[in-house]
């Protein structure tokens, strides 16, 4: 579903990604872990071209996203994204946040968009918050709305950029719960995270990134119990 070949990303003189290769299969859950500054988030943001790619190829759902002929807006409708800072639209109510893109991009009628939005809010456990503004919700609730907003486009895959890093510890669980549910339903997911428990439990595969490359790529079982790379071992010793 996603193929990445020799992906490089440079910010000025600073090369953040130094040749990434990876594949994500349909219905697979891939967690990306690694120290901060290792390029995890940049890598994720290259997958839907929020970050311009310096060189290499990213093929999403059969389309090379760097190809000029590729309609990036169309690709993005198939790739949902959840941000560390939620990025909900503060001037719109919860239900309006969820309804906006399906109406404007998928051309759903307001009634269809509302039905879909209400069903998704129900799913993330926030049906009763539909008419409130994001600022009236807790961080965990806001992030669940953000997940519902992304799902409202009925994407084929979801990208999560440290979705729980901005949350108070007691609010992390409710967000991870929603993500687990999604994984169980067979959503293709790439999750950049510091939640090792989540990666261990939910991921089919874990990528350990350091200094702009993928140092190790393995099943969670091997990564967490018997990592092949010394760097992985070091990192996990520090965080676990």
């Amino acid at each position: 579903m996603i193929t990445v070949q020799d992906l490089h990303k440079r910010f000025g003189d600073n090369e953040v990604l130094k040749g990434i290769h990876c594949e994500v299969e349909e219905k697979e859950v891939v967690c990306v872990i690694g120290p901060s500054g290792s390029g995890k988030s940049t890598f994720l943001r290259c997958l839907n071209l929020l970050e311009e790619i310096t060189s290499g190829d990213v093929i999403v759902d059969g389309y090379n996203i760097r190809d000029r002929a590729t309609d990036i807006n169309m690709i993005r409708t198939e790739v949902g994204m959840v941000f560390q800072q939620f990025n909900l639209f503060p001037h719109k109510t919860v239900i309006q946040n969820v309804m906006l893109a399906p109406q404007k991009v998928r051309k759903l009628s307001p009634k269809e968009a509302r039905q879909r939005g209400e069903a998704l809010l129900e799913k993330v456990g926030l049906a009763e918050k539909a008419d409130q503004y994001p600022s009236q919700l807790s961080g965990g609730q806001q992030q669940r709305v953000a997940i519902a907003r992304a799902l409202a486009m009925e994407p084929k895959m979801m990208l999560f950029d440290e979705p729980t890093s901005a949350l108070d510890p007691e609010l992390v669980g409710e967000v991870l719960e929603v993500m687990k549910q999604l994984a169980k339903e067979g959503m293709t997911m790439v999750v950049v995270t510091h939640e090792m428990g989540f990666a261990r439990e939910v991921a089919d595969r874990v990528l350990f990134m350091d200094e702009g490359i993928i140092m190790e790529e393995n099943t969670p079982d091997i990564i967490f119990n018997n990592p092949e790379s010394e760097r992985t071992k070091d990192f996990l010793n520090k965080v676990l």
Binding site: N73, F83, N87, F89, A101, K104, V105
Partner: protein, 216 residues
């Protein structure tokens, strides 16, 4: 000593001045807002040409006094273009281009101040750049524009008094005409000042009300 009852006799004439002050302010600021929106976007545009044009406009207008602009447009421009503008049109043009430059900076600042995560969230949902601007960035930026816009509106309304030098029959022009003919400077200029105060204070209240309504 001072006889403020006589002001009543001059109210029709002052009223006429008030009419032109409001007319020029409203039309001038409407056009100024449109100019400000266009050139404000120019100032954040990636298009070099558009950016440079917008920057020149803003710097030239901000760098010269409104009084000089008024006199230049009314007395100098017709010599260059061989086209005579009546003073009221010239007044509207002065207020429009002058406020437009300041409003452009207000627009630029407000749009710039919206967190870039908002644009990313919009784009990641498949909205194109134009749609994201229209549905997500603008509504938020507009709210932030209201206080500085209100300020600019008030400044521009007061600036219309300078248009008396290009013979626009606005409030200050009428006041000067009456005072110099009837030697009642205290009564007339006090009344004129009060008129401006009432307009601008009403505007302040209106803006405060709008701002409250837009709370989210």
């Amino acid at each position: 000593m001072f006889d403020f009852t006589q002001v009543i006799d001059f109210l029709p004439q002052l009223g006429k001045g008030l009419y032109y002050t409001l007319l020029i302010s409203i039309i001038g600021l409407l056009i100024g807002f449109a100019l400000g929106a266009i050139f404000g976007l120019g100032r954040i545009s990636k298009n070099k040409f558009f950016f440079i044009i917008a920057s020149i406009y803003v710097e030239v207008i901000r760098g010269t006094p409104v009084l000089v602009q008024a006199i230049w447009i009314f007395f100098a421009l017709p010599i260059i273009t061989q086209y005579n503008m009546d003073s009221i049109t010239a007044g509207v043009v002065v207020i429009a281009i002058n406020s437009g430059a300041y409003i452009a900076e207000i627009v630029r600042g407000s749009v710039d101040s919206i967190d870039k995560g908002q644009m990313e969230a919009g784009r990641s949902l498949g909205l194109n750049k134009h749609q994201t601007m229209r549905y997500i960035i603008w509504p938020q930026a507009f709210k932030r524009m209201i206080p500085p816009l209100g300020n600019q509106f008030i400044i521009s309304i007061k600036d219309t008094s300078l248009l008396s030098v290009i013979l626009v029959p606005e409030l200050m022009f009428q006041g000067r005409y009456i005072a110099s003919n009837h030697f009642n400077a205290v009564e007339i200029y006090t009344t004129v000042a009060l008129f401006y105060l009432v307009i601008n204070f009403s505007l302040s209240l209106l803006l405060r009300y709008i701002e409250r309504r837009l709370k989210y």
